[in-house]
């Protein structure tokens, strides 16, 4: 069920802010259209006919205050948000959301940065969206990661208390990710395992599609609700699909055309990567239909790399990369059973040879039995008669 949340009370709307910063209406419409493509259904915000309708709804909303915390991460999720194919898209995203604290992007350092965090928390207490990137070390009182002299556990506890909602971006923040792989030396876990009393949205992926984050945040600021979530708290609009079921290479799977090794003829032809360890059949994510960087085919399978299953906790960093996946929903292939199954014939020569062997055996048996009989006669003859 979507949750009712209070929106931020920034006096300026997104529309006013964009006008003030000189962002053209066209660019903003392009972003809204891209969002519409990324979340074609299942999200109330994009459930509209025209991109202009989305633009209108978003423009009227107040800019959401976003505090972005880094824990045990590689900053890849931040990169995915910024590495858009056109630089101005990233800039536009930063115009739409008010990113008040982000360690990688902010100019401030040291005490100034720390002050920025606290002032952002005070100004928008109870209204800001907390985005967490990276897993949280829990082992040995969380000493494996410290921020301004405080363990990550304590920082998360303090910042999340005043947050309206928490978005865990990336597999690390969702369920532990790479740092939680065996032997998990830091006891890394996701936000979900620590915070129990706040609405949490998990956006797993390594990295996830930035439009999933954007859609979730904008849904929250326009309607005050979070998108519908699945059992793993992932937004259904982005994680309801199985990669394999929507894969552009699915036809090759059905026809039995597989790449058997990297660089072989099949791999170069763009055939199915199942035998190279593709985890598509077990992975739920929108990748096969919503590619990255606004460029078609920019996603692992699109460039010939098997799906790694990065969104799924039981797969990523646990199952060996090249181990073949299990197919849970088995469907028929592109081939057909013949009406009559062809059966082999027995050649006349083979029949003759078998007959000769059989005949020889029968003959030998008959001769042997005759000898047995005569031996009995000899014995009985040699014995003295009893009567």
């Amino acid at each position: 069920m979507p949750l009712e949340l209070e929106t931020t009370h920034d006096p300026e709307t997104i529309g006013q802010h964009l006008v003030r910063c000189g962002v053209s209406r066209r660019k903003f419409l392009e972003l809204c259209a891209a969002l519409m493509v990324a979340a074609p259904f299942g999200l109330a915000l994009t459930d509209k006919v025209h991109a202009a309708d989305i633009a209108r709804a978003v423009a009227q909303a107040r800019r959401p205050s976003v505090i972005w915390l880094h824990f045990q991460d590689c900053t890849g999720c931040t990169e995915t948000l910024l590495r858009t194919s056109k630089p101005d898209v990233a800039e536009l995203i930063l115009h739409v959301i008010s990113l008040d604290y982000h360690e990688t992007l902010m100019a401030a350092a040291g005490k100034d940065a720390e002050d920025a965090l606290h002032s952002a928390m005070e100004q928008n207490a109870g209204k800001y969206v907390l985005v967490v990137e990276g897993s949280i070390p829990r082992k040995d009182q969380g000493i494996y990661m410290k921020l301004a002299g405080k363990p990550a556990l304590q920082v998360l506890d303090e910042v999340s208390k005043q947050a309206a909602a928490i978005i865990a971006i990336g597999s690390c923040a969702s369920w532990g990710g790479i740092p939680s792989a065996d032997p998990n030396p830091t006891g890394a876990v996701g936000v979900d395992a620590i915070i129990k009393d706040k609405p949490i949205v998990n956006i797993p992926g390594c990295p996830p599609n930035p439009y999933t984050l954007l859609g979730t945040v904008l849904q929250y600021v326009t309607a005050g609700t979070l998108p519908e979530l699945d059992a793993l708290k992932r937004p259904k609009f982005a994680y309801d699909r199985d990669i394999h079921d929507h894969c552009p290479r699915r036809a090759h799977f059905d026809a039995g055309r597989f790449a058997r090794s990297f660089g072989d003829a099949g791999h170069r032809e763009g055939w199915c990567l199942f035998h190279l360890g593709c985890k598509g059949p077990e992975t739920h994510a929108g990748c096969s239909t919503r590619h990255f960087n606004e460029i078609p085919d920019v996603w692992p399978i699109g460039i010939g790399a098997p799906c790694f299953g990065c969104t799924e906790q039981p797969l990523a960093f646990r199952v060996p990369m090249f181990q073949t996946a299990k197919i849970h929903e088995v469907t028929p292939p592109d081939t057909y059973a013949p009406v009559y199954t062809p059966q082999g014939n027995i050649s006349p020569v083979a029949t003759g040879v078998a007959g000769l062997i059989g005949g020889a055996l029968v003959g030998a048996g008959f001769m042997a039995s005759r000898k047995l009989g005569s031996a009995d006669d000899v014995k009985s003859e040699s014995k003295p008669k009893q009567e």
Binding site: G256, V330, T331, P332, P338, V339
Partner: protein, 300 residues
């Protein structure tokens, strides 16, 4: 020997009386059984010229009937049955003519015969024709003798070889769905209307209409109208039915032949009485008189 001639004769007489009684009573019920389509017999009409071989019916069938897919031939990759099996109640097969290359799909499942051999073969009534003519299976009565499998002229009913407590597996025309007012899953999912569900009489009329309207398109008869006494699943095709695995059977149902043989042997119970009389006579003739020379020989 403790059996006297008198007691032996008594037992024989009793046995004969019982057999005569049973034979007469079964003969009456057989005579009363009407073999023909029930008034609201339902069925399917499959038109091979319309089928595009998408196999949506196979997927839908598995889903509707809780059948686990057959991945044995494909190493877990595909649902790839090679024939009807415990993992396939419905299958789309392909016929390709070796000479001309002409091809046709064919959908195989239970034909729901008007007078089914499997029902006749089943000794405990686990297989029955229900009020709509659907040949339905009740596993509670099944002992797993597989007589039905031997009896089926279309090689449809299959045994669950992979289970410790096996059952028989066959298409039951989705009778659980029909009870809810739906049609069979395969008919509902077919995107081109190649297989449709309805009353047998309506389907037969429809088939004849198609034949009349497109005389060049089809082999000019409806398979299942008369074969093995008629079936409730009807076929239209542009390739000889025999090539599609539907043999050119006579119009006589399998149980009819069985009934004829049984009826002839036991007619008026003359043949069994004559046989037993002859046997009795032979036994009596060859009986050894006590005290004869032959009886003494061999005794220690």
């Amino acid at each position: 020997m403790g059996i006297s001639r008198r007691s032996a004769l008594k037992v024989m007489a009793a046995a004969t009386a019982t057999m005569v009684g049973t034979a007469l009573s079964t003969h009456e019920t057989q005579a009363a059984a009407v073999v023909g389509p029930a008034p609201d017999a339902v069925g399917m009409l499959y038109d091979a010229t319309r089928c595009v071989g998408c196999k949506a019916c196979m997927v839908a069938c598995n889903e509707a009937n809780d059948v686990t897919p057959d991945t044995s031939a494909s190493d877990g990759l595909w649902d790839m049955p090679l024939d009807l099996s415990e993992h396939a109640k419905n299958i789309i097969k392909l016929y390709r003519d070796p000479g001309t290359g002409a091809q046709s799909f064919v959908k195989r499942q239970c034909m729901h015969c008007l007078d089914p051999a499997c029902v006749g073969a089943c000794m405990l009534g686990a297989l029955q024709k229900n009020e709509k003519g659907i040949v339905s299976y009740n596993p509670d009565y099944c002992v797993g003798c597989r007589y039905c499998e031997m009896g089926c002229p279309f090689n449809v009913i299959k045994f669950e070889w992979s289970r410790a407590l096996p059952k028989m597996v066959k298409c039951e025309l989705c009778r659980h769905r029909i009870a809810k007012g739906q049609g069979p899953a395969c008919c509902e999912v077919c995107p081109v209307g190649a297989v449709i569900y309805g009353k047998r009489s309506d389907l037969l009329a429809d088939a004849h209409q198609r034949l009349a309207q497109n005389p060049g398109r089809y082999v000019p008869n409806v398979y299942g109208e008369h074969e093995v006494g008629g079936t409730q699943v009807l076929y239209l095709a542009h390739v000889d039915f025999e090539k599609l695995g539907l043999p050119a059977y006579s119009d006589e149902s399998v149980p009819t032949r069985v009934r004829t043989i049984q009826g002839t042997i036991y007619k008026g119970f003359v043949a069994p009485v004559a046989l037993y009389g002859l046997l009795a006579a032979m036994v009596l003739r060859n009986r050894e008189k006590p005290g004869s020379a032959k009886a003494k020989e061999g005794q220690p």
